[in-house]
Structure formats: structure tokens, C-alpha cells
Amino acid sequence: MEKSFWEKMQAIDRRIIFLFVAIGVIVPLVVELKLGVSVTNRVKNIYNKIESLPERSHILIAADFDPSAAPELYPMLESVLNHCFRKNHKVIVATLWPGGVGLIKKSLDEQSKEYDRVKEEDYAFLGFKTGGTAVVLSMGQDMKKTFPEVDNKPYIDIPVLKGVDKLADISYAVAISAGSPGIDNWVIYGSEKYGFEIGGGCTGVMATQYFPYLQAKQLNGLMGGLKGAAEYEMLVGRQETGSAVKRMDPQAVTHIIIIAFIILGNIAYFSTRKTNKS
């Protein structure tokens, strides 16, 4: 007996779904839809905090991710750095992930050039340090002891790090993370223990787990996934130059395709269930 359309839909070849997803990603990349992005308060809070700080405030950016999460988190790092440099803040970047070093260097070099910011006078990259929680605790105690040398120079000889002896000396921190160690370590063992304000950025799938921190004001803001990155790009006026806003169109179209398939799958399920029962 020949199978009905819905029975065939029940057992659809997954390669057909892959094909639709591929089309949903590629077409909006070629033909810009410019669907737009609405900015949420969660992201605006981070922007407002950096905006409200006086010039030359010390801002720590913890970039705890590697290339696998770069499509979502790298635009966040770029936009936050861009914002800090535009506001003429002193930027300190650290990472607890060995795979994050290269992308931090690239981002620092590119964003600092835009505003003619000078290495070691306007920004410093502390590098990767193994230990996760231990590194955060150690930074809270004594930054010089944790990072005796930064890029082959003694910590104390670097102008931008003057006045930052421990974590409590920074004005604000943004932890952009793709897992552990990451936001949890910086909130629990950093901002809570040593008393400084912190905002977060994470991948889309992780965002839900940080809402308790948000409500308890342990995080003052949160950028979740590509949308969070796109929102920050909108705030700093990088919608034309940044990559997150451009990537929002493929993401939106793909979500609609997935929803359409879910609805089709359910229609097929209920149709065939009736047939099977009868």
C-alpha cells in the first residue's frame, strides 16, 4: 500500500531538512533582509554603565571563549571594546580559556586602531592563565602576583595597569563567556567576593541560566547569543560595520523554517495517528 503524504512526512529524510536550513542561512546572507533588532533593557544596562563611567575608568573584559563560540561572542567582544575605546576608558582584557588568546589579540589590534589607542597606555592584555576559579581569586587578592609579567614586561611597568592592584580597583567588568570557567566564576568568586559591578555576555543556549544572577543584580546586564551581540552593535552604532546584525537575518529565517517543520511534523503525527487508530 502506498504511503500517504503525511506518512511520508513522518519519515522525511533529514537531508531535506538540512537543505532547507542551508537555504535559510545562505539566502539572507546574499540578499540582505534588514529585519532589524529591538534592544532590550538587559543589554542597554551594560551600555549605560560603560557610558556613565568617567573617562579613563578601568574596565576589565574577561573573554572566556574560543573560536567555536566566536560567531556569537566575537561581535560582543568587538562592540564592547569599541565602546570602551570610544569613551577613552582604560581596558584590561584577560582570558581563562587558552583558545581565546588569538581572537582577543585580533580584536584588540583592530578596535584600538579605530580610535588610535595605544598598547599599554590605553589597554593591556593580561594573557591566558590556567586555573579558572583560582585565577579569579588570585586576581582579587593581588593582580601583580597573578600576572608578574604582561607580554614580557613587569606588571608594575605598564602605565594602563597603574592603580589596579586587585579586582576591587576596577570600575566595571564585562564577562563574555562560552562555558566554564566563565561568568559563574567571575560572579561568585569575583564580583561577589571582592565587590565590583559586572555585566555578562554568553551564547544563546546559556542565556537562560544567568537570569537568577540578573534578578539578584549580581549581573547588571546580559547579552545573550547573537541577538545580544546585535543589540550591543545597534547601541554603539555598528550596525553597518559589525557582523552580528547582519547574521540576525539568517538566524531569524532559520528559526521560522524550524518552526514550520515542527508544525508540519505535528500535523503529520496527528494525521497518521488517526489513520493508525482506525
Binding site: L35, T130, A134
Partner: protein, 221 residues
């Protein structure tokens, strides 16, 4: 041997655990200095873990290549990639660093080139493949078979629609419902998970401190 493999590690774990537990409640500079010393040790031990991880990785993959076990080709690629990256890194690292360089890592440009042109696209590709598998899995798994499955299905669809900036979705209140899902049921569940995890960590820590939990010592004698 039992003394070295079992009793001494248990004594070290007990003393370190108790000292750090007590330290937290002592608001004196000496107590903070002790914490600082312990965290330094932890970072050094963490560096050793990297070496152990590396040797374990090599041991496993070289063994697979020797035995020509299924998938040995992938092991070969892993070992070649590891040796090449380490080799380039060591050679680049031996170059004299320029302390006045305007950019970070100027002495390791070769490693940065490999990172940008190999690791970055490979990492992104691995992660993006997830989108295809999630789409296929969602099609098969999200069926309204039960009441709970239906709730999950509707919640998932609302959360996915939230990132689609089409006016009709905003008009029917998708962003507000999405926000409610995040800040009410999601947050309640996350809090429950967090509290559960925290209590489990406390229980496991106490078991380790008092020598009840010994799996970290490794199997066998």
C-alpha cells in the same frame, strides 16, 4: 605504597579542605595571605594538569595509530596537528620578543596566522553544524504527545520567534511572553538547579575532606 598512594593524599586533602573552610570565616590579613598562597598553588597544579592532558592525548592517539584501530586516520591528523602547532609555537616563541611592538604577540605571528586561518574556521564550522542537527532533532522530537511535551513545544516556539523581528509577532505579544518565560518559569527552574548543584558541591566537598569520597585518588592500588 598504600601510605603514598592513599593515606598521604587523604591527609593532604583533609588539611587543605579544613584550612580553606576555616580561612573563609577569618577576616584577617594573614587569612587572606593564606588564600593567596593556596590559589597560587592551585594555578601551578592547573598547569601540570595541562601537561598530563597532553601526554594522555598523545598516549591514546599514538596507541590507536600503532594498532591501526578503526579511525586511526583521525588520530594521525590529531597528532600531526598537535606536533605542527607545538613546533611552530616553540620556534616562534624562541624569537626575541619586541617589547616596543604596537600589537600583542608580534613575536608569534605564525601562530596567530594558524589560529586565524585554521582554528577559527574549524571551530566555527563545528559549532554551526549544530544548527542542522538541532533542526532535524526538533522536527522529530517536538511532538505534542503529552501535556508536558505540548507546553515545552509552545515555549520553544515562542522563544525562537522572539528573535524574528516581524511586526505581527510583536503585535501578538511574543516579546512579552518570551520575557515572562525567561523571568518566571525559567528562573524558578534555574534557581532550583543552582541550589541543588550548590548543595551537592557542599556534600561532595565534605565527603572528599573526610575521606569518604576517594575516586579522585584513581582506581586500583
Amino acid at each position: 605504597m598504600v601510605l603514598l598512594k592513599r593515606q598521604i593524599p587523604l591527609i593532604i586533602a583533609f588539611i587543605a579542605g579544613i584550612v580553606m573552610l576555616v580561612q573563609y570565616y577569618i577576616p584577617l590579613q594573614e587569612s587572606q595571605d593564606l588564600l593567596s598562597e593556596f590559589t597560587t598553588w592551585a594555578m601551578i597544579i592547573g598547569a601540570f594538569a595541562l601537561v598530563i592532558g597532553l601526554s594522555s592525548l598523545l598516549h591514546m592517539h599514538i596507541g590507536k595509530i600503532r594498532r591501526l584501530a578503526p579511525g586511526w586516520g583521525y588520530s594521525l591528523i590529531t597528532v600531526v596537528a598537535l606536533v605542527t602547532t607545538a613546533g611552530v609555537g616553540i620556534i616562534a616563541g624562541m624569537q626575541r620578543p619586541d617589547p616596543d611592538s604596537a600589537i600583542y604577540g608580534s613575536q608569534a605571528a605564525q601562530i596567530q596566522w594558524m589560529y586565524i586561518n585554521l582554528m577559527w574556521p574549524l571551530g566555527g564550522t563545528m559549532f554551526s553544524i549544530l544548527a542542522f542537527f538541532i533542526a532535524s532533532a526538533a522536527y522529530r522530537a517536538f511532538r505534542a504527545r503529552t501535556f508536558e511535551a505540548t507546553v515545552l513545544l509552545i515555549a520553544a516556539m515562542i522563544v525562537m520567534l522572539e528573535v524574528v523581528p516581524i511586526k505581527i509577532f510583536a503585535a501578538i505579544g511574543i516579546p512579552e511572553i518570551n520575557n515572562w518565560i525567561f523571568t518566571c518559569p525559567n528562573m524558578a527552574a534555574q534557581r532550583g538547579i543552582m541550589l541543588g548543584v550548590a548543595l551537592s558541591v557542599v556534600a561532595t566537598s565534605l565527603r572528599i575532606i573526610f575521606g569518604i569520597e576517594r575516586t579522585y585518588l584513581g582506581g586500583g592500588d
